[in-house]
């Protein structure tokens, strides 16, 4: 996965550079023209054109995570906007500054290939501050929040966690800098050694088996020996022994000795193999443990971004929040930390947005005006850490979740009423369940938590929530300390083997046929008095349950799997064993295959798919597979119908990015360069969804949406507006003209967009 993303990012950057160069040239020449413009009409048209270029470049920069460029374009854009509104008369100093900004843009662009040291890079905050100064008539006033921090590029500071000062450089004794790529490669190779130890174990076991074979021979030999003796002693009719018999006797004696020697040799060899296997296993284990410690990093490297974010968010919303972080020094696999970045941001936003009340509300409830959010990390045992995110806000009201789940058609109203509050709560992790009134981007308990759940589960972690309405909400995340190596239970279905992550296996048990009860239209089994839905793994996976012996048996094994507080019993044909396995990712052709998380190689060299338990549970619950005998082939066909998406976006970088992301997600994509183009294509093609930028020439996203809604053929066509404009009015404007969703352009990561598309289709 990261490889594919890197590849895409590289290609995007190449496209971006070309596009950015064009915009920079337009702005540079436009500025010169503007300064000399003699008529008002000319002035206006030049301003419009450079404003658009600055705006497009901002969007494109955002798409490829070029934050410095984005920030500079933002300030250019606001500068041009002031000029358009004719609020100030442009001074030569202002033009100088504009040109300096454009020069800096060029430098930043050039530094993409060969990153210059931070010191040599243009001081973005100085430029933007200077511009704000001129525009507001108050030179050199420090603008609030954003530019207070001296490093403009957070991405950069993350890449270089180790700061080497000059003094350190001279006295380097026990620290060296090694690129993370090199370290990861070494770690991967070390992990590969695991398959060697597995093979060694397998071979040792085979040898042990083999060394038992001669004793089998001896038993038979002992039984037949009296007969042989008799033959040897009995004289033949002629009184002489046959020479052939004598030779046979000789051979038999020799064979006995020979096999005895063989037995001793085999026993010795088997002992040696067992000894070697133990030695190799312990060496590899130690090596792997040490190697993993090398790539571990403390949680604080990730949590350090939170205080500022929480402060800004709470300030925006007029809330008072104290953030407390405990256990930041606990170390965890760097790769897990990276994956957890988005989930933690979502959780923090969630706490501020939905958890903590306004100070007045809190005081009237008898609470302290200042709310508290706690991130607390603790080591649970040698292999897991627990992360608690607690806010002392209003808690989650089960009735609201119930209503939202009903609205998202996840539950029938009757079903929703029948579930206890405890069972309702996990629904907040379902995408589409939001207690928020309008669809916006990623804030809230709608999408954010679904993303958190997905990420945590992908890391083989677990996530749960408890709440006390009016008092607190607590999210509990269990994460493995390290990635890639984990325990799995191998099961057989028909002739196929699969591995299930042990962390998701609640129990393995054998069930008698008559113990299966039908409740409603579902088959269930009883687990400690509780009814658990039963599904057949062969149906969910669409594989044959071949053997007659398996079918005929009155008693069958089940594996009870759980994920996010949901559990289902899956019938399998055989549970083989539990062992440590090494997860290998699959090629890009298979990344979107449902139910499959990866694959592993067993000790005997056999490749076995690793199943994705959340997928299995989700599919079993929603396909009607639970308890019914729906043939799996039907679902496959339904799934195979590919959806097609029309993208309207004027920036080529953003367009390429969108096209790539959507195609990678399995959609058919057609692109258009503005609203007019999009509408023409829409009328001549067959599309399931439209993703449109807001700001485009000729016809913008709002116009396009209104036009689509005005055509009765497209009344139900989902339209998703993606925009750089994050303002409440625009968002409401979007909803007014009939957009299905309004998403603020994020960065390169577009999981929220994909999630919204999935919900809309």
């Amino acid at each position: 996965m990261p490889n594919r993303d890197d590849e895409l990012l590289k290609r995007l950057l190449a496209t971006f550079k070309i596009e950015a160069q064009e915009h920079i040239e337009t702005i540079a020449s436009g500025l010169v023209e503007l300064e000399q413009a003699s008529t008002e009409t000319l002035r206006k048209s030049v301003l419009d054109s450079i404003f658009r270029s600055a705006h497009s470049l901002k969007g494109a920069a955002r798409a490829v995570n070029m934050m410095d460029i984005e920030a500079l374009c933002q300030s250019l854009e606001s500068g041009f906007a002031v000029l358009k509104r004719r609020e100030i008369i442009p001074s030569p100093e202002l033009f100088d500054l504009f040109h300096r900004i454009v020069d800096s843009l060029g430098q930043l662009l050039a530094s993409i290939d060969s990153p210059a040291p931070t010191t040599a890079r243009p001081r973005v905050s100085d430029l933007t501050r200077a511009l704000t100064g001129i525009l507001t008539g108050k030179p050199s006033v420090t603008p609030s929040t954003l530019s207070e921090t001296p490093t403009e590029d957070p991405a950069l500071s993350e890449l270089e966690p180790v700061r080497t000062g000059d003094e350190e450089k001279r006295t380097v004794v026990d620290t060296i800098r090694v690129s993370t790529a090199k370290l990861d490669a070494v770690l991967l190779q070390t992990e590969e050694m695991l398959s060697v130890t597995q093979a060694a174990a397998q071979h040792a076991a085979q040898l042990r088996q083999l060394s038992k074979a001669p004793s089998e021979w001896r038993k038979k030999w002992i039984r037949i020996r009296p007969d042989v003796r008799m033959l040897q002693k009995s004289p033949s009719e002629s009184g002489d022994r046959l020479p052939q018999l004598a030779r046979l006797n000789e051979f038999l004696d020799w064979s006995g000795d020979f096999i005895e020697t063989l037995e001793t040799d085999l026993a010795e060899l088997s002992q040696m193999a067992t000894r070697d296997q133990r030695a190799v296993t312990s060496m590899v284990d130690n090596l792997l443990d040490d190697m993993k410690k090398v790539v571990m990093q403390p949680f604080s490297t990730l949590l350090d971004i939170l205080p500022r974010m929480v402060r800004e968010l709470s300030r925006e919303q007029g809330k008072e929040v104290e953030l407390s972080i405990q256990g930041g020094d606990i170390e965890i696999d760097r790769r897990i930390l990276e994956e957890m970045k988005d989930p933690l941001i979502h959780l923090a936003r969630n706490c501020v947005d939905h958890g903590i009340e306004t100070p007045t509300e809190r005081v009237s409830l008898g609470k302290a005006a200042r709310g508290t959010i706690t991130f607390s990390i603790s080591a649970r045992n040698g292999s897991n850490v627990e992360l608690l995110v607690i806010d002392d806000g209003r808690g989650i009201r089960a009735d609201k979740v119930r209503a939202a789940a009903g609205k998202a058609h996840l539950l029938s109203p009757e079903k929703a009423e029948s579930l206890a509050d405890k069972e309702i709560l996990p629904l907040i992790f379902q995408s589409g369940v939001s207690t928020s009134p309008i669809i916006t981007d990623i804030s809230g308990r709608g999408l954010g938590l679904a993303i958190v759940k997905e990420k945590v589960e992908r890391l083989n972690g677990a996530l749960s929530v408890t709440t006390e309405p009016g008092r607190e909400t607590s999210f509990r995340i269990i994460l493995p300390l390290t990635l890639a190596r984990f325990h799995g239970v191998t099961v057989r279905v028909g002739e196929h083997l699969f591995v299930l992550p042990t962390s998701n296996v609640e129990r393995v048990m054998r069930v008698k046929k008559e113990e299966v009860k039908t409740v409603g239209n579902r088959e269930t089994i009883s687990l400690r008095g509780e009814a658990v839905a039963l599904a057949r793994l062969c149906h969910v996976l669409g594989v044959e349950q071949k053997s007659n012996a398996d079918m005929a048996s009155d008693i069958f094994p089940v594996v009870i799997l759980n994920s996010a507080n949901q559990r289902i019993a899956f019938q399998v044909d055989e549970v083989l064993h539990e062992q440590e396995v090494l997860v290998k990712t699959l090629g890009k052709q298979l990344v979107r295959v449902r139910n499959i998380a990866g694959a592993t190689v067993l000790g005997n060299g056999k490749v076995v798919p690793i199943l994705n338990v959340p997928d299995l549970i989700h599919f079993a619950m929603h396909s009607g597979e639970v308890g019914t005998r729906a043939p799996a082939a039907e679902h496959q066909v339904a799934e195979a119908k590919q959806k097609s998406i029309l993208v309207a976006e004027d920036s080529i970088t953003s367009r390429t990015l969108l096209k790539n992301i959507l195609e990678a997600a399995g959609y058919r994509v057609e692109t258009s360069v503005d609203g007019v183009d999009a509408f023409t294509k829409l009328r001549s093609g067959d599309f399931d969804l439209v993703v449109s930028d807001v700001d485009m020439p000729r016809m913008n996203g709002f116009g396009l949406t209104a036009k689509i809604r005005g055509d009765k053929r497209f009344v139900d066509l989902p339209v998703i507006l993606v925009t750089a404009l994050d303002s409440r009015e625009d968002r409401e404007h979007g909803i007014d003209v009939g957009a299905s969703a309004y998403i603020v352009k994020g960065s390169f990561d577009q999981s929220n967009l994909l999630e919204v598309i999935r919900r809309s289709l």
Partner: protein, 144 residues
């Protein structure tokens, strides 16, 4: 400009792959099927601990399924970001071809084939279709 191309056959048609991208050629391997995978993916194979996706090139090109009497060969190809195995009927010889034998794919070629070939070489008595390995390893959106 000479270039080396390794030939292989599919349904009696002659194809070629640039030699430098070929990692190795393997006899039929034990294949692990992946449930619900696209039909083009025949399964997973274990190549010295590395798991490779085996792509059924007949299926990818929209040709009839491999007849029972052809056991097939694995053509293991290194792409920039991954290594895949293409299942082909048989692997032939390595040819030295020159650029002036190279032409664009004829328009008469079926879309499903021309999409994954970068052109043809005109040999003495037949055409050789040059496989575009990256395109062939990228699955088209599943046909309905």
């Amino acid at each position: 400009m000479k270039k080396q191309v390794c030939t292989f056959t599919l349904d009696d048609m002659l194809f070629g792959v640039d030699v430098p991208v070929i990692q190795e050629v393997l006899r039929p391997q034990t294949m692990t099927r992946v449930p619900l995978a696209p039909s083009v993916v025949r399964g997973l194979i274990n190549l010295r601990g590395q798991i490779l996706t085996a792509i059924d090139l007949r299926e990818r090109l929209g040709l009839p399924p491999t007849p029972a009497d052809i056991s097939g060969m694995n053509l293991v190809v290194r792409l920039p970001d991954e290594t895949v195995s293409f299942l082909v009927d048989d692997v032939g010889e390595v040819l030295d071809l020159s650029e002036d034998q190279f032409e664009e794919s004829p328009v008469t070629l079926h879309r499903s084939i021309s999409d994954v070939t970068s052109g043809v070489y005109k040999l003495k008595d037949r055409l050789l279709l040059l496989l575009n390995v990256t395109a062939a390893a990228t699955l088209p959106a599943e046909r309905n």
